[in-house]
Symmetry: C3
Subunit: 151 residues, 3 copies
Amino acid sequence: MSTLYYTLSNTVFRSFLFYAVASVLKMMLMSLLTSRQRFRKKAFANPEDIKPGKEKKIQPTTSDPDVERVRRNHLNDIENVIPFVLIGFCYIACNPDPNIALWHFRVFFFSRLFHTFAYQIPLPQPSRALGFIIGLVATVSMAIQILLQVY
Amino acid sequence: MSTLYYTLSNTVFRSFLFYAVASVLKMMLMSLLTSRQRFRKKAFANPEDIKPGKEKKIQPTTSDPDVERVRRNHLNDIENVIPFVLIGFCYIACNPDPNIALWHFRVFFFSRLFHTFAYQIPLPQPSRALGFIIGLVATVSMAIQILLQVY
Amino acid sequence: MSTLYYTLSNTVFRSFLFYAVASVLKMMLMSLLTSRQRFRKKAFANPEDIKPGKEKKIQPTTSDPDVERVRRNHLNDIENVIPFVLIGFCYIACNPDPNIALWHFRVFFFSRLFHTFAYQIPLPQPSRALGFIIGLVATVSMAIQILLQVY
């Protein structure tokens, strides 16, 4: 008998939905932080973003260090959160042990939360590197479990 | 009884497939627009992309304003379209009202279409900001509905 | 009768899981290649990444050509591999012919593998362009098949 994995009655999928959506929302927050920094530093990337007539000397820029720090963080999220969600969706079909799966999701989410704080405060290294590596290991561990099962 | 949500007989999933694929194709179109601008402006990022012998003075560049405008648009799509599709997949499992779901998908897709025109023409602000915010609200609204249901 | 497509007993989904996970892992490898180049060239993007006291003259940089080459490759993967996985997930629901589907997945994966070698060695053009276009065609072909079925 084939079973349904992609339903709310499956505990693994339910906890995945929570951590996947939370991770994506965390990532999307970086867009708003970028906007905030652009307005604060008056560092806009496009000429049409600069209010005309008011301040004559503002030139478009893509090299403000505070804006670029948030943007690098955002790109790092894209490089890590999206693979986590994609691989997580695949992982559900492999019917993993609920506890093992839950810890993968938790560890990933909190490591990325820590990574963001480490990047934006910023904390001295290797704080940020640690947050990055722990999240990577969680995702790669799910990937290996999938490959072993479908190969 | 558990029901199947991820099948073509589910109207919500069917309309999601349409708008998700359309949004991703729109995003992928930016790759081709970037190539077009690179050839038009002869602004290539890699030395091996420049035709040898023909024009001696061309240097690789990553700062042509027209190319960079398309690239920023592409990156903004990645930051918004991919979260929409990922969260949309999760949203399906929550069995939302077909009409409410359909309007989320529609609003998202057309706000991103408008965002692209506003970025590339370009239209005066706050046109582009509006396209961005409306799409963001649609995605965040789906995310909140999921979190309320699985928490 | 509605059938289950998102289970390991479906051959198409099983081969999709393999190639989707393999493609995402290939993409994630670029993060590690970027780190390696940053250490090799001592080209760090953030001031806190530079070991204090040891070498005084190192300044943060985001323009080292070897680091930027890997980063462009990574971004190109994001622009192509993620759409493939997202559209692939949608494609499964359309119950495609297993052989046709398998060849789409295979062609995509190996074209992206070739693209990475072409970018990093680098091979003379149009090698890289070819790898890019073949992968794009595989993804767009799946997208069209979905749109035809759900429209």
